[in-house]
């Protein structure tokens, strides 16, 4: 028999002798791991869902032209005023265009850029929805229906009507659900919008759009690029934004800077635009880990207790093992293996129950008006959680077993034998 097998045999016999308490200790670990897996899967599912809300709808880089005052003012160009620092107050932007200059050239450059997965041109138009005597402010996004669908899953968010009608039916509009509700506009109705410059246009409602962000849906609507250009009385080269998706989202900030320089436009990357969502995700993940670790520590104390009890009860056995030639190290190994087998058994069971509980939650219907694509509670079955779970259970049980095991290894057989 190999050395370690002998150790395991002795450990197994000690476990059998106290199997009830051992089971209770293992159940503690199982409970801890079950909750850890479930919480992490659920929280992470929630994170993915909320991130998806944003990420699916947000380009990695947005190219646009911001209206802002020129950085170089006339006084800076005059040679008479170069010696001092010029303070100028109440600077106003000049009448500059929202239009992205040279959009055709930009788009053909993007097409051949290997870092770019795809791009979708867009026009944002400030409008008023005319409802009887009242005007509601709104924004019409003129989009390339196909590109928008490919990159941002446009179809998923069109809850009623066919998204493709936007392209097929001239002068059509897909209204945000909130805006449609306010206007009492049904599909097939014709609504009237007024542009910021006062031009009016009749548009046919072909669908509702629901992004999941209610505030957005009260304002936003979608039309084709051609319709929007017509609405704004602009030529068919007129584009205000280009939305870009990259192969690697982490590359967005440097690429955005590069594009800004290259195309002489403003470029905003997704990390800058949505930094608050990362914070939310990491807080939720931290909470899940904290709860899981707390439960495991409680389970660890259970194991610590049972081992202490076992050692107290088995003093005689430990003494005779040492008297017949088992070293302190051997005794320590025996008790550490007891702790670890509780950890492995309880941990694996916990992974199983964690999976079952996650699957149960995954099956619970979850319908909310703001999340049209979600039908049940979201669960992320990331194998990494299971790996971390089993490692956690092993580490906690090992630590919980280490101190009693050290105590057992230090037992002096003479003291025990004299005591008899």
């Amino acid at each position: 028999m190999t050395k370690s097998r002998l150790i395991y045999t002795i450990a197994a016999y000690l476990l059998k002798a106290r199997w009830r308490q051992t089971l209770v200790a293992a159940v503690g670990v199982t409970f801890g791991i079950t909750m850890f897996i479930t919480l992490l899967s659920f929280m992470s599912g929630l994170n993915d869902m909320l991130d998806g809300l944003i990420l699916n709808r947000t380009p990695h880089i947005k190219l646009y032209n911001e209206i802002k005052a020129s950085e170089i003012q006339p006084v800076d160009k005059s040679s008479d005023y170069q010696s001092g620092y010029n303070f100028i107050q109440s600077v106003k932007p000049s009448l500059s265009k929202l239009e992205l200059h040279n959009s055709g050239a930009i788009m053909s450059a993007l097409k051949s850029d290997s870092r770019v997965v795809g791009f979708a041109p867009k026009i944002t138009a400030q409008v008023f929805y005319n409802v009887g005597a009242i005007d509601l402010t709104g924004v019409i996004n003129g989009i390339d229906v196909e590109a928008e669908n490919k990159l941002f899953f446009f179809k998923d968010y069109v809850t009623k009507g066919n998204y493709y009608d936007l392209k097929n039916i001239p002068n059509s509009i897909i209204l945000g659900k909130g805006a449609a509700d306010k206007m009492l506009a049904n599909i097939g109705d014709v609504i009237q919008v007024t542009t910021a410059r006062g031009d009016r246009m009749q548009l046919k409602v072909v669908g509702y759009f629901q992004s999941g962000l209610a505030d957005l849906d009260k304002v936003q609507s979608y039309a084709s690029i051609a319709t929007t250009q017509k609405l704004l009385a602009k030529p068919n080269s007129y584009i205000t934004d280009i939305q870009i998706k990259l192969k690697d989202i982490d590359m967005a900030p440097p690429v955005a800077r590069e594009f800004a320089r290259l195309f002489d436009a403003d470029a905003e990357d997704i990390q800058t635009a949505n930094s608050q969502f990362e914070t939310g995700s990491s807080v939720r993940t931290t909470i899940s880990y904290a709860v899981g670790v707390t439960l495991l520590i409680v389970a660890g104390f259970g194991i610590y207790n049972i081992l202490n009890m076992m050692i107290y009860e088995k003093m005689d056995s430990i003494a005779i093992l040492k008297a017949t030639g088992f070293s302190g190290k051997d005794v320590k190994k025996i008790f550490v293996s007891i702790a670890l087998s509780i950890g492995i058994f309880g941990g694996l069971l916990g992974l199983g129950f964690g999976f079952l509980l996650s699957a149960t939650i995954d099956a619970i219907p979850f319908n909310t008006a703001s999340l049209p694509t979600i039908k049940t509670y979201p669960i992320n079955y990331n194998p990494q959680f299971y790996l971390v779970g089993i490692i956690f259970s092993l580490v906690t049980t090992y630590l919980a077993g280490l101190f009693p095991a050290r105590k057992a290894s230090k037992i002096d057989p003479v003291v025990i034998i004299r005591g008899k």
Binding site: A323, T324, G325, S327, D412
Partner: protein, 225 residues
């Protein structure tokens, strides 16, 4: 000094410090040769157990030197001493110290499995041989708590024999037994000494048994007289 000494105590001195420092063993000198059958007698409290714990390497807190099988046991690591106990010394206590979770056979086998010199099968076979010598082979598969006191003590002797130690020590091994069982255990020791030339060092209060040994070491107040 003979070269066949298997165990030698040189000037062993031991103090206990609780509650006050007092000498328990005062310069113990003696040696045991291979095949010796020695008994240790003396009044209760004169230091017999204390001496045996030192000789068995379990107690390392003493002055002087202890030579087992030609090697000094002073300043040895705990693991090394454990190996000496495992391979060279068999110990029988007043109490049997059998593990109730294991069968009689497994109890006897444990030190043999720990030694790792023989395969599992061989250790089992050897354990059965020892149990046969002690006349309890029929009880091999029982749990210790199903045996009588005398039988348990014979299992403990079999366990002490499993690795063919150079010496078996006993600290009042019949102290918990009735007259009849004591006699059986004494006969076992005599048989081991005479038929198997097993070296034995047995602490006893029984004058008849002591007389039947080759040598009697008598102690008084921490000294050999």
């Amino acid at each position: 000094m003979s070269t066949t000494n298997i165990l030698e105590a040189r000037n062993i001195v031991k103090f206990f410090h609780d509650p006050v420092t007092m000498p328990v063993l005062k310069s113990i000198n003696f040696s045991i040769q291979k095949g010796d059958f020695v008994s240790v007698t003396g009044k209760s409290g004169c230091g017999k157990s204390t001496l045996l714990y030192i000789l068995s390497t379990m107690d390392t807190d003493y002055e002087g030197d202890l030579i087992i099988d030609g090697e000094s046991m002073k300043n040895r690591k705990e693991v090394e001493l454990a190996r000496v106990r495992n391979e060279k010394i068999g110990f029988v206590f007043q109490f049997h110290y059998l593990l109730n979770e294991f069968s009689v056979l497994k109890n006897v086998m444990l030190p043999g499995l720990k030694m790792g010199k023989y395969s599992d099968k061989e250790v089992e076979h050897r354990a059965m041989e020892k149990l046969k010598i002690l006349g309890i082979a029929d009880e091999a598969l029982k749990k210790p708590n199903q045996l009588s006191g005398g039988q348990k003590q014979r299992v403990a002797i079999a366990r002490a024999m499993i690795n063919d130690p150079i010496i078996i020590m006993g600290d009042e091994p019949t102290g918990n037994l009735d007259k009849k069982n004591s006699l059986i255990v004494f006969d076992v020791f005599k048989e081991l000494a005479h038929n198997y030339q097993q070296s034995l060092l047995i602490v006893t209060h029984d004058p008849d048994f002591a007389k039947s040994t080759d040598r009697i070491i008598e102690m008084e107040d921490g000294r050999i007289i």
